[in-house]
Symmetry: C2
Subunit: 458 residues, 2 copies
Amino acid sequence: MNAATASYIESNKQRYLDELLELLRIPSVSADSKFKDDVRRAAEFVRDKLTAAGVDRAQLFETAGHPIVYAEKLIDPALPTVLVYGHYDVQPADPYELWHTPPFEPTIRNERIYARGACDDKGQFYMHVKAIEAMIATNSLPCNVKVMIEGEEEVGSDHLGLFVTENRELLKADAILISDTSIIANDVPSLETGLRGLSYVEVEVTGPNRDLHSGVYGGGVDNPVNVLCQMIASLKDADGHITIPGFYDKVVELSADERTEMAKAPFDLVEYKRDLGIQEVFGEAGYSTIERTSVRPTLDVNGIWGGYIGEGAKTVLPSKASAKISMRLVPNQTPDEITELFTRHFESIAPASVRVEVRPHHGGLPYVMPTDSVEFEAASRAMEESWGKKPIPTRGGGSIPIVALFEQELGIKSILMGFGLDIDALHSPNESYGLFNFYKGIETIPLFFKHYAALKQN
Amino acid sequence: MNAATASYIESNKQRYLDELLELLRIPSVSADSKFKDDVRRAAEFVRDKLTAAGVDRAQLFETAGHPIVYAEKLIDPALPTVLVYGHYDVQPADPYELWHTPPFEPTIRNERIYARGACDDKGQFYMHVKAIEAMIATNSLPCNVKVMIEGEEEVGSDHLGLFVTENRELLKADAILISDTSIIANDVPSLETGLRGLSYVEVEVTGPNRDLHSGVYGGGVDNPVNVLCQMIASLKDADGHITIPGFYDKVVELSADERTEMAKAPFDLVEYKRDLGIQEVFGEAGYSTIERTSVRPTLDVNGIWGGYIGEGAKTVLPSKASAKISMRLVPNQTPDEITELFTRHFESIAPASVRVEVRPHHGGLPYVMPTDSVEFEAASRAMEESWGKKPIPTRGGGSIPIVALFEQELGIKSILMGFGLDIDALHSPNESYGLFNFYKGIETIPLFFKHYAALKQN
């Protein structure tokens, strides 16, 4: 990065942080309709800050759901164009009582910002807004830049697809840059070369047509909660292998070489378990923890409920039991196919004593970025210049469903150059983002633009 | 019943009903501390009505929990003494949205009273208050009568034991009369000769020390919800047999003759399934539905919860999962032993990746009343006189834990002469009690007193 940009960033660090904290105060929870107005307020904040950053234009595109913020600074059609993607919506903050400080009152402790969205994704995408501002202010933006920040990523980006297909010309670019992933450690930079996909369903098992007295009917009538437990338990065997027929058919196994490379990434199992407070890890037999959480598909119950869950005891034989179940996918599994396989299998294993309903939620395709691409090389060089050492390529466990959407609809690959850490506790209480990481990202992003422009010229 | 009493009851029918409705309006929910004052109000109502009925004395006995109502009318120490037991507290009414009319706004539809507690137990015990009033008013009470109506039956009668042991002299009686069970049909009288016991526990499975992102950690960390489902599923085999070691050791099997007798009770499986809206029943292999719901022990999950159960999707790998589990017991299982067996087994089947906590709730011993006793004969004759046919002896599925307590501490057997129906939907939304049943009970109870006094004289 040139000296002028570095100096500009340095002098504006406090304002950058203050603006991020202001954004974090807005409870832009997309999953819960009662926060609808706050979600819009966050979109307007982002638009206004992009305008202040010096872009040619910044506006809200309305959708049937939450608005999408779009901005651009076009310098020269001969230069490459980078499209930055992020999301201003956040996960629900429940359970509130587990937060040490309120989720929407950002607090700085131990050089970290604690708030819902601190890392996922406000802290991360806002680094781009500030990096772009710094480059424009010092007249050192070497590419055209477009910015697309949506408000529904946490609930499946339902309306982004339509926006993308209706605005192909507007969104034309050479690469999409996304900061929504993590590095291995603050002194071990890494680049995510893959993301798992997602299939998410809600199941409901119904037995009798009403809650029953468990004394009068217990033993004679099948209990939907017991049945749901049995059905869920049967979805995996003792080796942690998912038993849905056809589930693994399309899974691409890593080669021996790839597994060897992957095993080189630093990973401390003792520390991993200590941090989580568990005695033992558990997963698919024959795979390491890193492999289980990145290149193997999974099945997790995200929520389960049925019967009486209030204070004290109630001897009820409940009418219904429900669960939210999601599966992380790897290439070449697809959400539509896996959701279909799950649904057919789950319906087939239901005993005759109950009725079962499976309702699909949003899904997402898995994704892989080839490490021999110009885009990947630019990011790698940017991080190497910033850290003084090459980033390690890693395969991520999480999903960013729209990455596959972008490839499908716009024909553009995405670079996942994120600056978070596993301890950020995404989706959990006490989510945080390091001050180090926030500023490191703002300093590294202009390096990506520099290297990308240089590589594309050759 | 003599003509004077019958006539008295007839002329006061409307008032009897109005008083019951007034009692039903009081939300005396013992399980939920926010209804504490209403529980007391219900106790005071019962005390006042007993006073108005003409008893010698009626008072509230304070306990560390809810008060106990005690009343007595002593005529002659030479006469037998009947102790009437009931409970003025009711089950929680959740889920409120499933009630057609509000649970604490009693409504009469199709000759039935709809309200929480309509049958269990207000409608039933109040029949005794009115029958006693009628007998006193017409000077035809042939036994001494004592009345004990408590306020914690639905939560385990925690303080009744102390009251009973501290008041043995006061509560001395020849028989205890309880109306908290049902008849087979309005034209098929029956008498419950047994009750199942109860063991109730709450279990909590903890994995990681916080909720985790299911993409970052899914597949590598054992999910406590999945684990809880596996553990619960393993508690029964495919034949509906409970797998806890030692669980069935003390169970007394019925003889072939007893099973043949039991099979004679009218039971329409097609109608049973139609009423519950199920295609198939399910239970322990080798036993009929009647046997499964009365003379065999059971295990049911009454409630389960874990993870995100709000609106929409949240891809969380939860830290904890919990369940409320209860087991109905039969002679000679005991709640302490079964709770201990459950706890040891459940802790032993937990994988090393989680921690498990088992918290016992209230329990109750199973109970059997011999059909060759004077008490049983008196009830049988009373029902025969009232209906014109002998009642069928049945074994009940539900539990009334204090029945065993009474036998242990007071040395007195209980007669379960109840007037409810299975369709009363105890513990469920839209609980109800038939007007026919309410009045039939008030007419039949004096017949018990008459026959009991006569039989005891011989």
